[in-house]
C-alpha cells in the first residue's frame, strides 16, 4: 500500500505539535519530505517510487520505438544562402490546416515573411509556423504528422534580395 493523503495529514498533525522543522521519510515505496513554512503551513514533496504494475497492452502496434524526431539531424549544407525555417516548439508537424486539405506550401512555393507554412501541434494547441523570410521554399524535411523537436529545421527557403 502506498502513502495516502490521510497518512500525510496525520504526520502533519504530529509534526505541528513537535518542534521539528523538517521531516524526511524514505521507504522502498515512497519518499516524503516536509519542511515547516510558518503560519501552520508545510512545504511537501512526495515521490512514489513503486514501479507501475503493467498488466498488459491492448495496443495494436507492439511497443515500438517512436518514429525518430527530426532534430538536429537536418542537413547542414556547407555554405549557402538558404534560410532555415525552424520549429518554434516541440510537437507534431502538419503541412496542411486540416486532414485532406492542400498543404500550406510545397517546394517551389513563394512565401512572404508572414506566410503560414506549417502547423506544430503541442499540448493540444495548433501553433502556426511562419516563413520568417520572403522567398521560395526549396526543401521540406519532416513527413506530415512527424514528431519534431524544438528548433528542428522544417524547411529551407531561398530568400529574395531585399527590394
Amino acid at each position: 500500500m502506498n502513502l495516502t493523503n490521510d497518512d500525510v495529514q496525520e504526520i502533519l498533525h504530529l509534526l505541528d505539535a513537535s518542534s521539528s522543522n523538517e521531516f524526511h521519510l524514505h521507504t522502498e515505496r515512497f519518499k516524503l519530505a516536509l519542511r515547516r513554512a510558518g503560519d501552520g503551513l508545510w512545504a511537501q514533496s512526495t515521490e512514489i517510487l513503486s514501479p507501475p504494475k503493467l498488466a498488459g497492452s491492448v495496443s495494436e502496434a507492439p511497443l515500438a520505438p517512436l518514429p525518430a524526431a527530426a532534430a538536429s539531424t537536418a542537413p547542414t549544407l556547407a555554405v549557402d544562402s538558404l534560410m532555415d525555417v525552424r520549429a518554434p516548439l516541440v510537437g507534431h508537424f502538419y503541412r496542411a490546416p486540416k486532414p485532406g486539405a492542400p498543404p500550406f506550401v510545397e517546394p517551389g512555393s513563394r512565401v512572404e515573411e508572414t506566410t503560414v507554412v506549417a502547423i506544430i501541434e503541442t499540448m493540444k494547441l495548433m501553433n502556426s509556423v511562419y516563413a520568417g523570410v520572403a522567398g521560395r521554399v526549396v526543401e521540406i524535411f519532416p513527413e506530415n504528422g512527424q514528431f519534431v523537436e524544438q528548433d528542428a529545421v522544417l524547411m529551407r527557403v531561398d530568400p529574395e534580395p531585399p527590394q
Binding site: N2, L12, L41, I48, K53, L54, P97, M123
Partner: protein, 450 residues
C-alpha cells in the same frame, strides 16, 4: 456494486479518481498511453494497461482500445475523467454492450448535451435563455449566419467543451481561416470536426452550476465562477461566485435544475451560464456531462466527494441527500498550475520535472500528478497541478492562496505560478466579480509594469 474501475484518463484527474477508489475499497486499473506508462497515476493504480501510442487518437480517444483494456483488466466499470472520451456516446454504448458500467450519464443524455447544438434546443425546451447562433453547412452559409448574428462571433466545436475548441472572429475576412483551424483542432481534440457559430458577448461572467442526478431526482451543489480565462481556458475558479445578486443566483440554480430534470439526468453535470452583469441576466451556454476540472472548489464548500457520488449513482443508487440537506460553508478558490511560460505568450513548456514541492496544511488541497522525475509530454494539455484553498470567507481564501502559491515549487518546466500570485494581489480580483474581459487586461497591464 462496482469492484474494479478502469480509469480511461491520465494526469491529475486519474490520481484524483484513484484516491476516492482507495477510500471506497475499489480496485483501479489505469488505461495509459505509451507516454504515461511511468506516470504517477500508473504508479498508484493497482494495475496498468497500455492503450496505444502517445498521440491521443492512438490511445485515449480510441473506444475499442478502452473497452479491450477494461475487459483485459476485468473492470466492471469505466471512469472516463474529463476531456478525451468522457462525453463520448460510442464509449457509453460499447460499455453497455460489454456489460461494463460507464460512470457517467446515459447515452441519450450524452447525445442531448454532448452535441452543443442539440443542447441549445433542450435548453430552450426547458425554458432557459440562450445566446443567438447556429450551425452552417458551407462557408457561404457561415458568412450569412455570422452577418445575421452580428460581429464578432465565436466559432465553437460541437464536440467541444471545457473551454476547448472556441475561437473568436472579429471581422468577416478572418472567418474562413478561423473556421478551418477550428475544424482541424476539433477533429484532433474531440474526434468530431463540426463547429457552430454564436454571438460573442464581450462583457460577461462565466458562472456555472454543479448538478448531481440519479435519473429520478436532480439537486444542485451550488455555483462556481470561472471568469478568469485566457483564450477560453479557465485559469482560476471559485465557489461560490462572488458578488452575484441573490435573486440572480437562485434563478440560475433553478434554471440548471430545470434543465437537469428535463433530461432526467443521471450523474455529475455542469450547466454553464454567461452572466450579463449590466442587464443582471444570464444565458445558457452548454452543459458538461462529466466531472469538471474545477470540481474541488465545490467539494470544498459542500463537503461532498463528487467522484464517490458519481460512482454511487452509476451503481444505480438513489441520491443520498435532498436539496435541503446540502449546506455550503466558506469560500474556495482553485488556481490551475500549467506548464506554460506566461511571460512568453503562454508558450507550452513540456519537459521533465526535477523538483515538485507543494504546500500542505489546513484548508489547502493539491491535486497533481507531478513528482520529481515526472515527464510532461507534449501530446496532452498543460495542466500540472490544481491548488485549492478553502477559507471562512473570500478574503481569507485569497490570503491563504497567496501563501500556498509561495510554497509551490516546480522546476524543470516553466509554470504560471507567479502569474497567479500577482492575480491574488490585483485590486479588481480582490474586489470580486470580474468579467471574462478582465484577465487579458490584467496580463497586459502587468507586462507594461515589468
Amino acid at each position: 456494486m462496482i469492484h474494479r474501475i478502469l480509469i480511461a484518463n491520465r494526469g491529475e484527474i486519474a490520481v484524483r479518481v484513484i484516491r476516492t477508489c482507495r477510500r471506497l475499497g475499489i480496485e483501479t486499473v489505469l488505461a495509459a498511453s505509451e507516454a504515461d506508462l511511468d506516470s504517477l497515476p500508473a504508479r498508484l493504480a493497482d494495475a496498468v494497461i497500455c492503450l496505444g501510442g502517445p498521440r491521443s487518437p492512438d490511445s485515449y480517444l480510441k473506444v475499442a482500445a478502452v473497452i479491450a483494456a477494461a475487459k483485459m483488466g476485468k473492470a466492471d466499470a469505466i471512469h472516463p475523467g474529463y476531456g478525451f472520451l468522457s462525453e463520448n456516446r460510442d464509449l457509453a454504448l460499447a460499455s453497455a454492450a460489454a456489460g461494463i458500467i460507464f460512470i457517467g450519464p446515459t447515452e441519450a443524455q450524452l447525445d442531448a448535451v454532448g452535441d452543443k447544438l442539440k443542447a441549445r434546443g433542450h435548453a430552450v425546451a426547458a425554458g432557459l435563455p440562450v445566446v443567438p447562433g447556429g450551425q452552417a453547412a458551407t462557408l457561404d452559409e457561415a458568412q450569412d449566419l455570422a452577418r445575421s448574428i452580428g460581429w464578432p462571433v465565436l466559432v465553437k466545436a460541437v464536440g467541444g467543451g471545457g473551454g476547448r475548441g472556441m475561437k473568436l472572429v472579429e471581422e468577416p475576412d478572418r472567418l474562413v481561416e478561423t473556421l478551418e483551424l477550428a475544424v482541424a483542432e476539433a477533429a484532433a481534440a474531440f474526434g468530431d470536426p463540426r463547429v457552430y457559430l454564436e454571438r460573442y458577448v464581450a462583457s460577461g461572467r462565466h458562472v456555472e452550476v454543479q448538478l448531481l442526478g440519479d435519473g429520478h431526482e436532480v439537486v444542485h451543489l451550488g455555483d462556481r465562477d470561472c471568469s478568469i480565462q485566457r483564450r477560453y481556458q479557465k485559469l482560476v475558479e471559485e465557489a461560490p461566485a462572488p458578488n452575484l445578486a441573490d435573486g440572480l443566483r437562485a434563478e440560475m440554480h433553478r434554471a440548471a435544475v430545470a434543465f437537469g430534470r428535463h433530461l432526467g439526468y443521471r450523474g455529475l453535470g455542469t450547466v454553464e451560464f454567461l452572466v450579463d452583469c449590466q442587464r443582471n441576466s444570464f444565458y445558457f451556454l452548454e452543459m458538461n456531462a462529466r466531472i469538471q476540472v474545477e470540481h474541488p472548489v465545490t467539494e470544498a464548500i459542500c463537503g461532498l466527494d463528487l467522484v464517490a457520488e458519481q460512482i454511487a449513482v452509476a451503481e444505480g443508487r438513489r441520491l443520498a441527500m435532498t436539496q435541503e440537506q446540502i449546506r455550503f460553508s466558506g469560500h474556495a478558490i482553485e488556481c490551475r498550475i500549467n506548464a506554460e511560460d506566461w511571460t512568453r505568450d503562454f508558450r507550452p513548456s513540456p519537459g521533465t520535472v526535477t523538483v515538485a514541492e507543494f504546500p500542505s496544511g489546513p484548508g489547502i488541497r493539491v491535486d497533481t500528478h507531478m513528482q520529481a522525475g515526472a515527464r510532461v509530454p507534449p501530446h496532452y494539455d498543460s495542466l500540472l497541478a490544481k491548488l485549492i484553498v478553502h477559507g471562512t470567507d473570500r478574503a481569507a481564501a485569497i490570503e491563504r492562496m497567496g501563501k500556498a502559491l509561495a510554497l509551490c515549487r516546480i522546476d524543470g518546466v516553466a509554470t504560471n505560478t507567479a502569474m497567479h500570485a500577482g492575480l491574488m494581489r490585483a485590486g479588481p480580483f480582490l474586489a470580486g466579480g470580474v468579467d471574462t474581459a478582465y484577465f487579458p487586461k490584467f496580463l497586459s497591464e502587468g507586462a507594461s509594469h515589468g
